[in-house]
């Protein structure tokens, strides 16, 4: 088990290094327009040259890359070109918002999707069709639009939840919870639809396996057969899909944070993109990829714990 975790960890680190290096190179390979964009169309050639020197853009890309990587491993992502604030500090102050959202969504998705998927697989018939409809609706409606509709219904028409804003859990736990209910609902819908489908088909597939018949022949209760043995067998493929969903959720969070005016990483990268603030964009991308790697590692470990065969791969 430990060597399995070590191997996964090494793979994750490699991914992190390759992904952030590639992003850095892509964003820095063509720096000719950056100074102009920061200064505006009226800038003179001297002003542009001065700005480029100030940002270090006149140095060769390899040199800047080594410097960036060297800083990144120490948690130093440089400073924002516009606010001159430390990128690390900005990113870390925004992280709790996005984490509340994304981790909340993953948990909600895991619970609801498992319940729906198992219900659809064991009951079939009408329940199954209801789940299928939910999954099509969930896949069809973009989550930020779901967010808008939720605001119109549950914040403007029926003032149950706040329409916008984030309350830090340190300030008020209840306020924190009610500030993330609608965003998490909006984000969960598409993830629930995808994962519940996977749980449903995996559950049906596992239930038809030979060993399930043999377990039943041993006189095990139906509850134990379905919820211990079959569900555990169906968990591996479902977790794989959940991991894939997580990557998409980070992207979804960017837009949903805008809808609910949550000061998270998504809001940060969206405004940094508009301005062309390369260090800040890079910082957010690096931290997002780190999140993906960490979540994948956690899901891999859970998978390995559930499925002894997975530890071998």
């Amino acid at each position: 088990m430990w060597s399995f975790v070590a191997r996964r960890l090494a793979g994750g680190l490699a991914l992190l290094v390759v992904a952030s290096s590639l992003t850095f190179l892509l964003m820095n390979i063509n720096t000719s327009g950056i100074a102009l964009r920061i200064l505006g169309d009226q800038a003179t050639a001297e002003q542009i040259a001065a700005k480029e020197a100030e940002l270090g853009l006149d140095r060769p890309i390899t040199e800047r890359f080594v410097e960036w990587i060297g800083g990144a491993v120490r948690g130093d992502f440089g400073v924002s070109w516009f606010t001159s604030e430390s990128v690390w500090h900005t990113v870390m102050s925004r992280l709790p918002v996005t984490l509340s959202l994304v981790v909340g969504t993953v948990l909600v998705t895991a619970i609801i999707a498992t319940a729906l998927g198992v219900l659809a697989a064991t009951r079939r018939g009408a329940v199954d069709r209801v789940v299928q409809v939910i999954s099509v609706v969930g896949a069809a409606a973009p989550n930020f639009w779901m967010g808008l509709m939720l605001i119109i219904i549950f914040a403007l028409t029926l003032p149950i939840f706040p329409a916008t804003g984030f309350v830090y859990p340190g300030t008020s736990l209840v306020g924190w919870a009610s500030s993330i209910v609608l965003p998490i609902t909006a984000l969960s819908l598409s993830a629930v639809s995808a994962v519940s489908q996977q749980v449903r088909s995996a559950f049906i597939e596992v239930e038809s396996r030979d060993y399930v018949r043999t377990l039943r022949s041993r006189g095990l209760s139906e509850r134990r057969v379905l919820f211990l043995h079959v569900l555990r067998g169906a968990a591996t493929p479902a977790l794989t899909v959940l991991a894939l969903q997580f990557v998409g959720l980070l992207g979804g969070a960017v837009v949903v944070e805008r809808v609910f005016a949550l000061p998270g990483l998504g809001e940060t990268i969206a405004s940094a993109t508009t301005l062309g603030d390369v260090p800040l964009v890079m910082g957010v991308v690096a931290i997002s990829v780190t999140l993906v790697v960490v979540v994948n590692l956690v899901i891999d470990i859970i998978t390995g714990w559930i499925n002894p065969k997975a530890r071998l791969s």
């Binding site: 493929p237 992207g251 993906v292």
Partner: protein, 590 residues
């Protein structure tokens, strides 16, 4: 999103294209989805002809006007006609999705074909890159790219096409690998067909439908991503799209909430139809027969006259008929009027070729027929109780008095639990043992069935032991709670010949030692001669001949028994011979 499900669609063999289309058009949801997509595309293409107004014509005097005869969906914040903007918006939104889709399919298809067909370094490299791309949050990357390349909708969608191409790549690559291993591709290669011709003819036909399914998914995702970017105000402000309309509506959410509803609905309708279309196509591809529900009057079992039997009969099967529904009013019968008595302490062989109904009979006794099976008539008598009429009594016997030894040892142990767990749980449940007692007893059982290192086997997972050991474990499990009756379904078929004899010896010893009554399903008359006291021969779901083993073997009456017996004496596997002769009509329901 659903790479997994689309990949699963690869498994069935390549379907004939025409029948696939026909099956797709048989599905009302499929028709609905295709109709909706067609209508949306048509409306978007014809927008210049049918739009009532210029989508960019500003008339501030009617800003935020509600729907009217002049402006069917009202006017937006700048007094532009919402309906016209919606129609024109469709053009650009769909065009953007089309760009992503084309790029994704082009990149994924070409790289997948090359990687899957030729393998080598390109395969390794492209597989690594696809894992890399799949682990990257594409929204973040698109934002990063936007800093470099600017806000153009077309470039952004092309980049997104590349980012999402791994889903196509994976599909194509695994499809190609599957096909490459097929004999007909080798044959085509030997007969001198060029690689391009082979790819075009054999490979593309296999991956086409899964790609269309994945394409529908990609189309949906790219519309969602595109509108998300525009919603953030990071889209291309120069082209009117649904996302831009949403973004404008959002800014005026408190004045005109309806302005977010129309473009949102247009997006949801488009993506929803794409999803439904993908689902319908996948269903058609898998040709999943929706299990017919029998009408109540057909499903009702006939009352069976139960014939009382003596104390010496452990189990009496009487007039058993089982079938599977093929439509709401008809049932395909797989075993018909099967009757036999299992004497206490004896072994009864149930013999026949694959598909003769032996296994269905065995499962009926255990009450473990697959979902959908219907017991049309018959009785299974155990100590005066009809187990078909009293399912609860049957369930109460399972694992305690009635046990099962399956055919395929490796697939009959739960791969996720240790052998020890699977052995001890029934002991604790049925015999009320503590976990320590259960463990000692399980160790003793493993030792009894001839496992060399019981301690190590207890903590092993099923994939860590051999097939012969797995079958010993399963036999230990079957006898663990001291049953009276064992149903063994071809317990040696899946094993090596040398191991077969050992397992048969073990079964015989245990049977003698514990006075077990046993139904032994087999296709092998050698096993019957070796072990059985009585024998019943099955063909096409019926018992054609039964009697004492030694007399039946010496003097078979029925021609089918004679031919089966003759083929055994020729030392040929009777199953192989029979399969060649008759095919396997009921293999599907086994």
């Amino acid at each position: 999103m659903s790479t997994e499900t689309a990949a699963a669609a690869l498994t069935p063999s390549a379907p004939a294209p025409r029948s696939l289309t026909r099956r797709l058009l048989h599905n009302p949801l499929g028709i609905l989805a295709i109709g909706t997509i067609g209508t949306i595309i048509l409306l978007s293409v014809l927008a210049p002809l049918i739009a009532p107004h210029d989508p960019t014509y500003v008339d501030l005097s009617i800003a935020f006007d509600p729907p009217s005869a002049q402006h069917l969906l009202g006017a937006d914040s700048a007094g532009r006609d919402v309906l016209s903007r919606l129609l024109y918006g469709g053009r650009f939104t769909l065009l953007g999705a089309l760009i992503s889709l084309s790029v994704a399919i082009l990149v994924g298809l070409v790289s997948g074909l090359v990687a899957g067909f030729y393998g080598g370094w390109f395969d390794t490299l492209s597989d690594l890159s696809s894992s890399l791309l799949m682990a990257m949050p594409s929204m973040m990357l698109l934002l990063a790219f936007r800093v470099v390349v600017g806000p153009s909708l077309w470039i952004t969608m092309a980049i997104f096409g590349v980012l999402i191409s791994p889903s196509v790549f994976r599909l194509v690559r695994s499809g190609v690998r599957q096909v490459r291993g097929e004999l007909y591709v080798d044959a085509a290669r030997v007969s001198g067909l060029s690689d391009t011709r082979i790819i075009a003819r054999h490979v593309l036909s296999v991956v086409r439908a899964p790609i269309i399914i994945q394409g529908a998914v990609i189309g949906g995702i790219s519309i969602a991503i595109q509108s998300g970017l525009e919603f953030l105000g990071l889209g291309d402000q120069s082209v009117p799209t649904w996302g831009l309309m949403l973004s404008e509506g959002f800014r005026n959410l408190y004045i005109g909430p309806l302005l977010t509803v129309w473009p949102g609905l247009a997006i949801a309708l488009t993506i929803g139809s794409l999803v439904l279309f993908g689902n319908a196509l996948r269903d058609a591809l898998e040709d999943r027969p929706t299990a017919p529900r029998l009408r109540a009057d057909v499903a009702r079992a006939e009352r069976t006259e139960v014939r009382p039997v003596g104390e010496d009969i452990a189990l009496s099967v009487q007039g058993l008929t089982v079938g599977y529904p093929i439509s709401e009013s008809s049932v395909k019968t797989v075993i018909e009027d099967v009757s036999f008595d299992l004497r206490r302490g004896q072994i009864l062989g149930l013999v026949g070729e694959s598909g003769s109904g032996k296994t269905q009979t065995a499962w009926s006794i255990l009450g473990l027929l697959p979902r959908g099976a219907i017991t049309q008539s018959g009785a299974i008598l155990h100590q005066g109780v009809d187990l078909i009429a009293d399912r609860e009594a049957q369930r109460a016997l399972l694992g305690r008095k009635l046990a099962y030894v399956p055919q395929e040892p490796m697939s009959n142990l739960d791969p996720l639990f240790t052998i020890g767990h699977q052995l001890t749980f029934p002991l604790r449940k049925h015999l009320g043992l503590t976990s320590e007692e259960a463990r000692r007893r399980a160790l003793a059982l493993l030792d009894r069935v001839g496992i060399k290192n019981p301690e190590r086997t207890m903590s092993a997972y099923p994939h860590e032991i051999s097939g012969g050991m797995a079958q010993r474990v399963l036999i230990a499990g079957a006898v663990s709670c001291d049953p009276d009756i064992i149903v063994a379904d071809e317990p040696t078929t899946a094993l090596d010949v040398t191991v077969q004899a050992e397992i048969l010896d073990l079964l015989r010893e245990l049977q003698a030692e514990r006075g077990l009554s046993m139904v032994l399903v087999t296709h092998n008359f050698g096993v019957v001669a070796d072990l059985c006291d009585a024998v019943a021969v099955m063909q096409n779901g019926r018992i054609v001949e039964q009697g004492e083993a030694h007399s039946l073997l010496r003097d078979p009456q029925h021609p089918y028994t004679q031919s089966l017996l003759a083929s055994t004496l020729d030392s040929t596997d009777p199953r192989a011979v029979a399969d060649q002769k008759h095919g396997t009509p009921m293999e599907a329901t086994r």
